[in-house]
């Protein structure tokens, strides 16, 4: 990390070396893959944690609910970077030595799980009471109520917020570069340090992220519109 200021002073090249990018496209393809892999693991894990917590919050006794609320507050009021450092640099003192990538998964699921718990919780709350009453009147068991009535409706109510959180989590993958996980940002700074191709690398990195996030945020806008329409229709 102390390298960065040094690189900055040594930077001299001004002309853009497009060929360099072409020569190294495989490394960058790999970095894009790592970004998505970490993002997708975090998204899947956080969705599981969030859904489970939201269900527990609905049915469990008070101590358990307090525990989950405590977890949400802790996860949301501390930076991902520090969560990551505690796991990656701190846990080895207990003999738990995790790779950068596994630490990244855990930290991001820890963070994302808290956000998604809130989203699913309010999604479950937003399902109309009459739906639940009808389900009970039909004699559905509690599990069946959840499986066939509550979760499907809560899911579509939460969809825009969910999607926004997924984009947020995918953006947070940049932070895990700090524990040397070779995703896009790490690959970029690494190449700047190795070859001093600052211009090219910055341009490529920005381009890659724009190519990933602009379509996603457009999709989010469309999703929000569609959900609004669905609610009007309803």
């Amino acid at each position: 990390m102390t390298l960065y200021p040094m690189i900055w002073r040594m930077e001299l090249s001004v002309d853009f070396d497009g060929l360099f990018i072409l020569q190294h496209w495989q490394e960058f393809a790999l970095a894009v893959w790592v970004t998505f892999k970490i993002g997708l693991v975090a998204i899947a894990g956080a969705t599981g944690v969030g859904l489970l917590n939201a269900i527990i919050l609905r049915y469990a006794n008070k101590p358990l609910r307090l525990l989950i609320h405590g977890y949400i507050e802790v996860a949301r009021n501390t930076p991902l970077l520090i969560q990551l450092f505690v796991i990656y640099f701190g846990l080895p003192e207990f003999g738990i030595r995790l790779s950068g990538e596994v630490s990244a998964w855990i930290a991001m699921i820890f963070l994302g799980g808290a956000y998604l718990t809130e989203i699913f919780r309010s999604g479950l709350q937003a399902v109309a009471e009459s739906q639940l009453e009808s389900a009970r009147a039909l004699g559905l068991s509690r599990w069946q109520q959840l499986r066939y009535v509550l979760i499907p409706q809560a899911w579509s109510i939460s969809l825009p917020a969910l999607f926004a959180s997924y984009i947020f989590l995918l953006k947070e993958t940049t932070v895990v570069s700090a524990v040397a996980v070779p995703e896009i940002l790490y690959a970029t700074t690494n190449y700047i340090a190795l070859y001093y191709k600052t211009y090219e690398m910055l341009a490529l990195m920005t381009l890659l992220y724009v190519a990933i996030f602009v379509p996603l945020s457009l999709a989010l806008h469309r999703l929000e519109k569609r959900v609004q329409h669905a609610q009007f229709g309803y």
């Binding site: 990390m1 102390t2 960065y4 200021p5 690189i7 900055w8 930077e11 001004v14 507050e73 802790v74 949301r76 009021n77 501390t78 930076p79 991902l80 970077l81 520090i82 969560q83 450092f85 505690v86 640099f89 701190g90 846990l91 080895p92 003192e93 207990f94 953006k171 947070e172 993958t173 940049t174 932070v175 570069s177 700090a178 940002l185 970029t188 700074t189 700047i192 600052t198 211009y199 910055l202 990195m205 920005t206 992220y209 724009v210 996030f213 602009v214 945020s217």
Partner: protein, 219 residues
């Protein structure tokens, strides 16, 4: 073991606090700029002036198109080459977090203004208020209640985000912690202390935001 851990943290405290000062400087500067800039941004966006709205929208989408840490690196590495501007890393961090904060507070402000019942604006114009008076006496005072809780949440996010400035070499609280770790190898203790420290900074703010939201949602 326990007492030695406490002793160690007491010994490390002065250095951590020096770093914390930098963190607070970054956070406070970004919060002030974001609040003022964001209010302006929100009001301008709510006015729907054709050209201005387009420019602001472009700025917003540009900031959001790419993760914040990427902007931090692009500004830090890119500005010296592109403009010959030799910004210190701390100024660079304040600049990037402010630019980001303006869009976040700005969107909150725009949402708050636009969520007011349309009748308020129409009634104000009907009794002959100018645009300026309309905003000064009718819209902004009402929007303020809807605006403050989510803006406080933006502040907690800004405080959390200042942690990223260590990655461009700012000697803020995390960097101070890392310096202590380099000397003593007590990474678990120091990072846990930082964890608690950030929590103590952010938790009261987000609690307050929730309380205010609850209280004002009835009014």
């Amino acid at each position: 073991m326990h007492s030695s851990a406490i002793d160690f943290l007491m010994l490390s405290a002065p250095q951590l606090l020096r770093g914390l000062q930098q963190t607070v400087v970054i956070a406070a500067s970004a919060i002030v700029v974001s609040t003022l800039g964001g209010l302006l941004f929100g009001v301008l966006r709510s006015l729907n002036i054709p050209f201005v709205s387009g420019v602001l929208r472009l700025y917003l989408e540009l900031v959001r198109a790419v993760p914040l840490l990427v902007w931090l690196f692009v500004f830090f590495f890119g500005l010296p080459i592109a403009l010959g501007l030799d910004l210190s890393s701390i100024s660079c961090a304040i600049l990037v977090f402010s630019l980001w904060g303006i869009t976040e507070v700005g969107e909150v402000a725009r949402g708050a203004i636009q969520s007011l019942p349309r009748g308020q604006q129409e009634a104000g114009l009907a009794i002959g208020l100018s645009r300026q008076q309309l905003y000064r006496y009718i819209l902004l005072p009402q929007a303020l209640r809807r605006l403050i809780p989510p803006t406080m949440n933006v502040y907690t996010r800004l405080i959390k985000t200042t942690s990223l400035s260590v990655l461009i070499g700012v000697t803020e609280v995390i960097k101070s912690g890392q310096q202590i770790i380099e000397r003593t190898h007590e990474s678990l203790l120091i990072y846990s202390a930082l964890f608690v420290l950030y929590f103590l900074l952010c938790f009261p703010l987000s609690m307050m935001a929730r309380q205010l939201e609850l209280r004002w949602s009835h009014g």
